[in-house]
């Protein structure tokens, strides 16, 4: 046996509070389209229920919107994946460095050379769809995975924006990619609500080849009446998913899978096609992502919108499940700190008294309970399985020979 001298051990570390803490500290106000799409989901899963007042009592009336549960979903999705500069293939061209989707790409994709042709858009002249799938090379990610510009104004329409994103020359080429019979009708159904343009790009520019650390993103959302431009840490998935849901909703309607007639929904005025569905149809629509083949049929046009389309089934799981982690926990009692960085959240309402706890009658955590209990097996379990040996008492002092006994118990020569 060796002695262990200075147990100061392998020494390094020594970093104090990360600067990143400050970046994450602020609440990210969501654009109207994002906010109202999640509000429409919350409204479908944990609605306000005035009709339960008589049956269960007035405390059962308020729902998820009364505690701004949409903020829980948006915060979680926007803190879902950290992107690090050292994991990117370099150099990263961004808007600020004269490249990237927010810059003028012109006829050439400046990423093409840098990435060894990996991001070549392919020959679209014959109508070949853009293969937006990019793969790790030497363990490094293609930056374009995380760059997006969906612009309905310069492209003329939602369909035009999708056409441009996919890299097609004309809207009608979408017909070949979308398994829809009537592209015009699809175009009429598709609406991104208050969003005219959503653009995501790396904020740190120019990014040196040897850059390390957490990437920050420029998030630009433009609408008719307002626009937001933020720099945020982590990929802003929460802002992208609602556009995906609008596309899936348009296809859902086109296929006639809705049970109720869609209608404008002033309560969620910033939303698009998705929020026009009835409560149950919103959920049916999301379920087509998991079990209805929607992402297979829409693969070609959805792929350029997300770093990977495959996570969408997981996202639908989370859209549902996070209501449990948010609504039926103490989260709403965090008051105005509920979207702070986690170490800066503080309870404003006692956990036993938040809205949902008044609906479940759960008293909140306790140090212990005075409760009756018994043992079901008098005298304890039997344990008479035959072994070669038993290893003997373990506590407090295991006899030296116990280890050898245990070896013998395994019934063979260990060498």
């Amino acid at each position: 046996m060796k002695g262990v001298g200075g147990l100061a051990a392998v020494s390094m570390s020594g970093v104090s509070i990360a600067e990143a803490q400050e970046v994450l500290g602020q609440e990210i106000p969501a654009d109207p389209h994002t906010r109202d799409t999640y509000r429409a989901i919350v409204d479908a899963i944990v609605p306000r229920t005035p009709e339960l007042e008589e049956e269960l009592g007035g405390e059962h009336v308020p729902g998820g919107l009364d505690v701004e549960l949409e903020k829980f979903l948006i915060w979680d999705f926007n803190h879902f994946q950290e992107i690090r500069l050292e994991t990117l293939q370099t150099p990263v061209k961004t808007a600020r460095s004269g490249g990237g989707p927010l810059g003028d790409l012109g006829g050439d994709n400046p990423l093409g050379d840098a990435l060894g042709g990996l991001t070549e858009t392919g020959d679209l002249g014959g109508g070949t769809p853009l293969d937006s799938v990019t793969e790790l090379v030497d363990g490094l990610m293609a930056p374009e995975l995380f760059q997006l510009d969906l612009d309905t104004i310069s492209s003329g329409s939602e369909l035009g924006a999708l056409t441009d994103l996919v890299g097609l020359d004309a809207v009608d080429e979408l017909t070949g990619l979308l398994e829809v019979e009537d592209l015009d009708e699809f175009g009429e159904l598709l609406d991104f609500g208050a969003v005219d343009r959503l653009a995501i790009d790396f904020a740190d520019a120019p990014i040196p080849d040897d850059a390390e650390g957490i990437a920050e993103f420029d998030l630009l959302v433009e609408g008719a009446n307002e626009g937001t431009h933020q720099v945020i840490q982590n990929y802003p998935y929460a802002n992208v998913f609602p556009l995906v849901f609008d596309i899936v909703a348009a296809e859902f309607l086109l296929r006639g899978e809705n049970e109720d007639t869609p209608s404008p929904n002033p309560e969620f005025a910033g939303g698009g096609t998705f929020v026009r569905l009835s409560r149950e149809d919103r959920l049916r629509c999301l379920w087509t992502i998991v079990d209805g083949g929607a992402i297979d049929r829409l693969d070609e046009i959805l792929s350029p919108m997300l770093p990977t389309l495959g996570i969408l089934k997981y996202v639908v799981m989370a859209v549902n499940g996070l209501h449990g982690f948010g609504y039926y926990t103490e989260w709403s009692g965090l008051g105005d700190t509920k979207t702070n960085t986690p170490s800066e959240r503080e309870m404003q309402v006692d956990p036993s008294n938040v809205q949902s706890r008044n609906q479940t009658d759960y008293p909140g955590p306790s140090d212990g309970y005075a409760a009756d209990w018994r043992h079901a097996v008098d005298g304890g379990f039997d344990d008479d399985w035959e072994t070669a040996e038993t290893p003997g008492p373990a506590d407090p002092e295991l006899p030296d020979e116990a280890a050898d006994e245990a070896e013998e118990a395994t019934g063979g020569d260990l060498l």
């Binding site: 990360a18 982690f325 103490e330 005075a370 304890g380 072994t387 506590d395 030296d400």
Partner: protein, 589 residues
């Protein structure tokens, strides 16, 4: 520790077990590395905002009151997969969790911390079924159930494993299961299960109210304190083990009632530093292992150490060791192996079993509960141990009665399904459940209003290891530790049949007990029990050593050759870690 004999990668449920055994009985110096935080340790008083110390080697570093502060037992604060203190991610809570690519309606539920996923487990410590070792074809001849039993016994002694207490909720299960009540099954009184029946859980939790503050027994009349400082010892009957469990409050770390590995093993491992006749254990959190170093040996490769990365500073360093033991769990162990470019003959990361869970919910009327428990009006799923009674059917799997706090209940009962929404999901009138799938809207609120009279039964299927299930390197995403793990799990047809059979048994237990409504959630894959992604008999020899790399062992649940029949895997994983540690000591020290 400048010159460890052994580096153990991962201080989860199993790593501290192997480290303790190696130091305690084989005189080996062990550096135990953990990617996540070290809660309840004075060297890291603010683990989420400050990097704190580097390594802990002194049992006096452990601080039970600090653990009480850090484990608030608030549900979202503990369990949210993105920001909860029990998540898979760096200690720095301003950063996102570590990403896994999962292309399914499914959920991975692990914890990175000293104690690992055992920090939120229910401490159910049944042994594996003998038939899973002796009759199924997965375990090599050198590892029979009889070979495991001495290690089960040792682990049960270390972890205070004993029969769990029956409270009002368990009495309702017993009413529906026991042939002496309204059920069909006998009571099993043996720890080694070869027959079908029900029994109290063997739980790694001390007896309720072993000592109390006023000398009165812990029952419904108890009015004393639950503080260790006031004299309380043992379990306090709080069902919030999923949120970390640091009761009794004020108790030293080693005196907390539930023996997750940070309670049961870590203090003992650090104790070895105080004994000159034993090896030493140093525990270093916030340290990610990114590469396994090897050298060409005579024939096989030979492990020589690891490359580590500090999760706060990003600094990297090489640590040399005579032997490397992987204990990062069923996802990170194969990921590290693959990212290290080690040989793969087709089973690295493959063969993952998950017990193909399901979840069957019973809602009870007040009168029904009062008839079974005349002195108590509610079942109160938050009172008692989270799971204290079970059903076993070797060859098929098992069931566990479960009560939890309402956030977890709403997720598990009504918001996690592969069947779609209940309003569109027909129910076969010949099946013993009334509804299935997601429950949302007004009906969700109605069901949750009945939370205190609702309990669930977890279905644990004896699912078979299959080569198509498991972990590979993702080809899209990379993080600071290399390509991220891509995880896949789909049950086989026979697994589905076993799960259906068990779900019917669970529903009938509810019905026999008088449930007014039975709901089958029909869960998608929940990757919480994970076993057998680096299987003994395939990737590893019977001693846990890599077949293709000398001096490289795996001692976590991934080394299990199968799902041990369906019982909760912690007792089996830890017993196997003890067994492997003995083999390591014998072979190399």
């Amino acid at each position: 520790m400048k010159d460890p004999d052994v580096v153990v990668v991962g201080a989860g449920a199993d790593g501290p077990v192997a480290a303790w055994k190696l130091a305690r009985d084989h005189g080996v110096d062990v550096l135990l590395l953990e990617a996540g935080p070290f809660y309840g340790n004075e060297q890291w008083p603010e683990p989420h905002v400050d990097s704190g110390g580097t390594v802990s080697t002194d049992p006096d570093d452990l601080d039970g009151k600090l653990l009480d502060e850090q484990f608030t037992h608030r549900e979202a604060e503990a369990n949210d997969p993105t920001y909860g203190y029990l998540r898979v991610g760096p200690s720095n809570s301003a950063r996102a969790p570590w990403f896994r690519n999962l292309h399914q309606n499914a959920f991975i539920w692990q914890v990175s911390a000293v104690g690992g996923t055992s920090t939120h487990y229910f401490s159910n410590h049944p042994r594996g079924y003998p038939t899973a070792f002796d009759d199924q074809p997965h375990w090599p001849d050198e590892v029979s159930y009889a070979d495991m039993v001495p290690y089960y016994r040792l682990n049960e002694e270390i972890t205070s494993t004993q029969q769990a207490p029956m409270t009002a909720r368990e009495e309702v299960f017993i009413e529906g299961a026991s042939q002496e009540k309204s059920g069909e099954y006998p009571l099993l009184e043996d720890l080694n299960v070869t027959e079908t029946g029900w029994r109290p859980q063997p739980n790694a939790v001390e007896v309720p109210g072993k000592e109390t503050s006023n000398g009165q027994p812990l029952d419904s009349d108890y009015e004393g304190s639950f503080s260790y400082d006031d004299g309380f010892r043992g379990d306090t009957l709080v069902g919030d083990h999923f949120q970390g469990s640091s009761t009794p409050v004020d108790a030293p770390v080693r005196e907390k009632a539930r023996k997750s590995s940070n309670i049961g093993y870590v203090p003992r491992a650090l104790d070895t530093n105080d004994n000159p006749n034993q090896g030493n254990v140093a525990i270093r959190p916030n340290t990610y292992v990114t590469d396994i170093h090897t050298a060409e040996g005579a024939g096989n490769l030979e492990a020589t150490g690891v490359e580590i990365r500090d999760t706060w500073s990003g600094a990297t360093q090489t640590v040399e060791a005579d032997t490397v033991v992987l204990a990062g769990g069923c996802i990170e162990t194969p990921r590290l192996w693959l990212n290290s470019g080690l040989p793969d003959d087709g089973w690295v990361g493959k063969g993952l079993t998950t017990h193909w869970f399901d979840w069957v919910v019973g809602v009870y009327d007040d009168d029904t509960v009062a008839d079974i428990n005349p002195d108590r009006q509610h079942m109160d799923p938050y009172v008692g141990q989270n799971s204290a009674v079970r059903f076993d059917k070797p060859g098929v799997g098992g069931l566990e009665d479960i009560g939890m706090s309402p956030g977890l209940v709403s997720f598990a009962d009504y918001l996690f399904s592969e069947a779609g929404y209940s309003f569109d999901t027909p129910t076969d009138p010949d099946e013993p459940w009334d509804t299935r799938g997601y429950i949302v809207g007004k009906e969700l609120k109605r069901r949750m209003a009945n939370y205190r009279q609702t309990k669930a039964i977890l279905v644990l299927t004896d699912d078979m290891p299959r080569q198509e299930n498991g972990v590979s390197l993702d080809d899209t995403f990379s993080d600071e530790h290399g390509p991220v793990p891509k995880v896949r799990y789909e049950p086989g047809e026979e697994d589905d049949e076993r799960r259906d059979e068990l779900a019917r048994i669970a529903a009938n237990i509810h019905k026999n007990a008088g449930a007014s409504h039975v709901h089958r959630a029909e869960w998608p894959p929940l990757l919480l029990h994970m076993q057998s992604s680096m299987r003994i008999g395939k990737v590893l020899d019977f001693a846990g050593e890599a077949k293709n790399v000398n001096r490289l062992f795996v001692a976590d649940h991934s080394a299990l050759a199968n799902g041990v029949g369906g019982p909760n895997p912690t007792n089996s994983g830890q017993a196997n870690a003890l067994r492997i540690a003995d083999h390591i000591g014998k072979r190399y020290f």
